[in-house]
Symmetry: C2
Subunit: 200 residues, 2 copies
Amino acid sequence: MIQDIFITQANVISPRWQQAFPHAKIIVRMDELPSDFTDIMLWVFLADVSLLKNITAWAAVGARVVVLTKIENPIQAKQVIELGAHGYLHYLAAEQVLTQVSQVVQLGGLWLGADLIRQLVFSTANTLQVTHTTQTIPVLHILTLREKSVAEAVAAGKTNKEVARDLDITERTVKAHLSAVFEKLNVRDRLQLVLVMSGK
Amino acid sequence: MIQDIFITQANVISPRWQQAFPHAKIIVRMDELPSDFTDIMLWVFLADVSLLKNITAWAAVGARVVVLTKIENPIQAKQVIELGAHGYLHYLAAEQVLTQVSQVVQLGGLWLGADLIRQLVFSTANTLQVTHTTQTIPVLHILTLREKSVAEAVAAGKTNKEVARDLDITERTVKAHLSAVFEKLNVRDRLQLVLVMSGK
DNA sequence: CTCCCTATTGTCCTTCAGTCCAATAGCTAT
DNA sequence: ATAGCTATTGGACTGAAGGACAATAGGGAG
């Protein structure tokens, strides 16, 4: 049975927390935390950035960590997920949503609001690696195999020399492939290649 | 009461669909679809890319659309979310997960598996605009105002000449700010600047 | 056999990027 | 008055990027 613990500050509390989780504890001081984090769901209000570093530590010892915020924004969302949090939402979220987040996270899922997911999806520049599949970014399917390899290496921040070394070809060959890529994707240089490969 | 309809091909069916939704319909031909999509949850197995274009149309007339796939991958996930789908998961997902997806989507949420969300978050280069908040990417807060302006212009794909023209300064000044940015963020060139600004 | 595509490579050139020297000026704090 | 920071700018330099010429070779289709 999961124990819910809300870590917040004295002036930031929502009645919906208790409605969603009648047995939840609400604490404002860290020393009130248990020593054993098994079966613990931590709901952490990010009062200041100093709490960020705790997220990774808590997640590492088995706690489910959901971050609560006053202003949802995708950059902070990305940051907390990168730190190991399992969810991110507004501290005034509805009881129904809180319950749902709890269920999703307990089942191993990650929770982000729909708008945040869309913002991450729509405005991200994609450097995803295609693995275990022949499916590729539609824009890349017009490139040959070698062109694609070169394009992806460049999009990862590598110089022509580095790409040449990695693919065991000369720098001149890298440039030849890049030129073809630029022409096919109608971009003028490697910087714009990166942006186009992200779907913008 | 939501009606669940699985659109698939004859050889792609999971018993878990019926277990999760005993009253669901499973169809293989489009003409078996109802004319009214209100209160309809469509679970669409992506047999081929031709089905992609239907997603936007179905979502536009009120259907909730969840895409089922044989191989989950973040590029396709991004693609279907961009097309208006409300979820994306493996066609053999567990009954519990199917039920949960249904609940999340009915409540207005978006469903992506935890691994997919992490892949989108971790491997994206971020060009998100910060709106309605003074919170910025932590990495940028160590830059001065002018440095930040220059860095953002460069990250948008502009040459030094273009940035100079846009900000009404000389190219030499742009280079000076960029050099300072490179040193502060510990990157070697503008390509890596773009990647770092995305949080990688 | 011919043609086309892909992959690879060379030489040479111009432009861009980035760094290393240097400097002035305004603003703020001491 | 002085120091430090930010913003701006110049000159000179090296290396990287990208393009324009050119070429060979293998594989597949007609």
